[in-house]
């Protein structure tokens, strides 16, 4: 009954499924080495930068973070779809992040250490608030949102929150027999 939806989002859907099968850690390593091969909107450098930003916004700890969950993949896909209207904002915003990084530390964002990246992002948050809010919202979507859109690889965030997967429909775990 969901044939139509599957057809429309087949690529995303299959991608998420494969990622789930392969496991979170393995994919995150594999994916990093592939940066630059399959981006829809970003250049390889931009993708690296966005991935590094996402990794600071939702870092990994004992659970995967936005980087491992492929938030950059979600953003890249959506920028060619409903988020087309944000393409310019991203192009300029990413450049602004690197500008800030260079002026503060003399290096592009991806080459900074973690403390420096946090410093740089704090500055971006103040200077380019609109872009910061946008990428923060998108990173959260790519981490906490449905995997079918290219993020939340391996249902990383849902596992972190202890939500059951496969998604549970009520009758599977709740006794409604008295209600018919």
């Amino acid at each position: 009954m969901e044939i139509r939806g599957v057809r429309l989002r087949r690529r995303t859907f299959l991608g998420a499924g494969l990622a789930a099968a392969a496991g979170v850690t393995a994919i995150s390593c594999g994916r990093s080495s592939q940066l630059g091969t399959s981006w829809r909107f970003f250049t390889a450098d931009e993708a690296q930068t966005v991935q590094a930003i996402c990794a600071q916004l939702i870092p990994s700890d004992r659970d995967p973070g936005a980087k491992e969950a492929g938030a950059v993949n979600y953003i890249d896909i959506q920028l060619t779809r409903p988020f087309r209207r944000y393409q310019k904002t991203y192009r300029r915003g990413i450049a602004a992040v690197d500008d800030v990084s260079r002026s503060k530390f003399g290096k592009p964002f991806v080459q900074l250490n973690s403390d420096q990246q946090v410093d740089a992002l704090n500055a971006v948050e103040e200077k380019s608030g609109a872009f910061f809010d946008l990428i923060l919202a998108h990173a959260r979507q790519g981490f906490y949102g449905d995997p079918r859109h290219g993020g939340n690889r391996g249902m990383a965030s849902w596992k972190m929150l202890g939500l059951p997967f496969p998604q549970v429909r009520g009758r599977q775990h709740y006794d409604v027999s008295e209600n018919g």
């Binding site: 009954m1 949102g145 939500l163 009758r171």
Partner: protein, 551 residues
């Protein structure tokens, strides 16, 4: 070339239009029901937390689509921008068969007696067009009952001592209580409040040939694959079609109401699914597009006699746009409050709807629907860093340990909170779009602060270790509960339709949706829209004297 003439053409297959279609078709009138959206089924209901009617991150799942339906928003600072349906500020309501009732949370409230006479209860509020309805609760009571029993409402409001008198109980019992409900109920009772099971347009036992709720976590904003949640799409609209007297045309965008030389309506023009302009002649034109689109259609209908739009001689069409401003609080507990059992909202109090010292009205308070992980971002308290490990750590620890209590504030209507048609921007079909402007009234904000404090107190009594308020600012209110733009009244100088929902200016054009609400109660408006549609249909049929159309 014109299509075959019918008795009535109805614009919009939502809450109002669905009921009117069924009532008229059942009485033997020929009806064409035009809907700009599609007829979705439960099979369309992927439980996608980024693409649904609640979150709308990647678009509004049940319409309207982002590509063809812009609006212009003038914000509270006077900044003008073009907005699309998935933007905040667009004031979207679903565009599909069933309208908002296809994917809503399904609360089925009767407004209270005082909600119909706010002005005489509280007196004037400076800067507000606050007024009484031209009808009273008693006029609607039989139709509330009809909606409850014909469509099917579950719940138990016997402990709600504030409710308006009802002649019949609800036809279905409430669902068994969730953990959240069991935490909140004794706390409310300890505070001397009167908690009860929210009336819901949702089957809790098999009813009218449909199954009962299976209690999943994806309720509000999603389609129900069991069709256990009740809207016009699975009740009155199929019933209308089953009479053989009603034809539903989806993907049909109405352009304007046609008027003859005397200024009476003779039908409508609309763009069909292939964007071809069609002409549908009819004896009656019944506008049920929701407060923004109904006003837009009237304003886009120009005539020698109505140079400023149909029904707009007194400049009241599009005025008093109101909705509900939600205020409340979040509570963090030191144990799990989440049992993953839907649909979510179940317990409410009406202790603060009226009689609050110094306030004109108030609001109902209820627990919130289940917050899916991305939606939960709005539940992170302001003192937690918005990014980095601290944020992630909070979400991880708190996701299953929070309860949100929230309620709709009855808004003070404003003459300048309004829908106009934009002079420049047009939609995909070349029709001038709605232009929204205005603000909320300061007193609405004051009531919100009051309600948020009450929510916080309830959560604290329930054992929350930390609480934080949710509120709203000055920006224009709209969204799904949009209302007020074609005010019902006895005086043509200060209203758009009479108490039968008939335009003062043209006797064969009706507006039957929340546009006619003078004030909007402090409750989700669906049941009131349905009840008023039953009432207006009954009055319309009483006055009906036959027509030129072939039966």
């Amino acid at each position: 070339m014109a299509l075959k003439r019918v008795h009535a053409v109805i614009i919009g297959a939502g809450a109002g239009g669905g009921v009117v279609a069924k009532e008229l078709a059942t009485a033997g009138l020929s009806v064409v029901l035009l809907e700009r959206g599609k007829w979705h089924s439960g099979g369309d209901c992927r439980k996608d937390d980024l693409f649904n009617q609640r979150t709308q991150v990647l678009g509004a799942k049940f319409g309207p689509d982002d590509e063809r339906n812009p609006r212009v928003l003038v914000d509270e600072h006077g900044q003008e921008s073009v907005v699309i349906p998935s933007d905040g500020g667009y004031s979207n309501n679903a565009a599909c068969v069933g309208g908002g009732t296809f994917s809503y949370g399904a609360m089925a409230w009767r407004y209270m007696e005082k909600d119909f006479r706010m002005r005489s209860t509280y007196g004037a509020v400076e800067g507000s067009t606050l007024a009484d309805w031209p009808i009273a609760y008693d006029d609607l009571e039989p139709f509330y009952e009809k909606a409850e029993w014909e469509m099917g409402v579950s719940g138990d409001d016997s402990n709600n001592i504030f409710k308006a008198p009802r002649k019949k109980p609800l036809p279905m019992p409430p669902l068994p209580h969730t953990l959240e409900h069991r935490i909140l109920q004794p706390a409310a009772e300890r505070l001397g409040l009167h908690p009860f099971d929210i009336p819901m347009l949702r089957n809790t036992v098999p009813y009218n040939g449909r199954r009962s709720c299976m209690r999943c976590r994806w309720c509000v904003g999603f389609a129900c694959e069991l069709s256990a949640r009740t809207g016009t799409h699975n009740t009155v609209i199929p019933a209308a079609l089953a009479t053989g007297n009603c034809e539903l045309r989806t993907d049909s965008m109405t352009k304007e109401i046609l008027l003859d030389s005397q200024g009476r309506a003779s039908g409508v023009t609309y763009f069909d699914v292939h964007d071809r302009l069609q002409e549908q002649p009819a004896d009656l034109v019944i506008v049920c597009g929701g407060a923004i689109e109904s006003a837009r259609l009237l304003l886009n209908t120009k005539h020698r006699l109505f140079p400023n739009g149909l029904g707009n001689r007194s400049d009241w069409v599009g005025r008093n746009l109101q909705s509900h401003s939600y205020a409340g609080a979040n509570g963090l507990f030191d144990y799990d409050t989440f049992d993953d059992i839907g649909p979510g909202a179940s317990i409410a109090i009406c202790d603060y709807n009226h009689g609050n010292p110094g306030l004109t009205g108030g609001g109902m308070l209820a627990n919130e629907f289940i917050r899916l992980p991305y939606q939960f971002m709005a539940s992170v308290p302001p003192w937690v860093a918005p990014w980095g490990l601290e944020h992630k750590e909070f979400v991880r620890n708190a996701y299953k340990r929070t309860i949100v209590l929230i309620g709709p504030v009855q808004e003070m209507p404003l003459f300048d909170a309004r829908v106009q048609v934009d002079p420049k921007v047009k939609d995909h079909w070349g029709i001038p779009v709605a232009r929204l402007s205005g603000t909320r009234h300061d007193h609405t904000i004051e009531i919100g602060r009051f309600l948020a404090a009450k929510a916080e107190a309830w959560l604290k009594e329930a054992g929350a270790v930390q609480t934080w308020k949710r509120g709203f600012g000055k920006s224009l209110s709209g969204g799904q509960h949009q209302a007020g733009t074609c005010r019902m009244g006895d005086d043509p100088r200060t209203s758009v339709v009479n108490k039968d929902c008939q335009l003062h200016d043209v006797d064969n054009v009706y507006v039957i949706d929340a546009s006619v609400h003078v004030t909007n109660g402090a409750f989700n408006p669906a049941l009131t829209i349905l009840a008023n549609a039953y009432r207006a249909s009954a009055n319309l049929l009483k006055a009906w004297k036959g027509s030129k159309a072939a039966a």
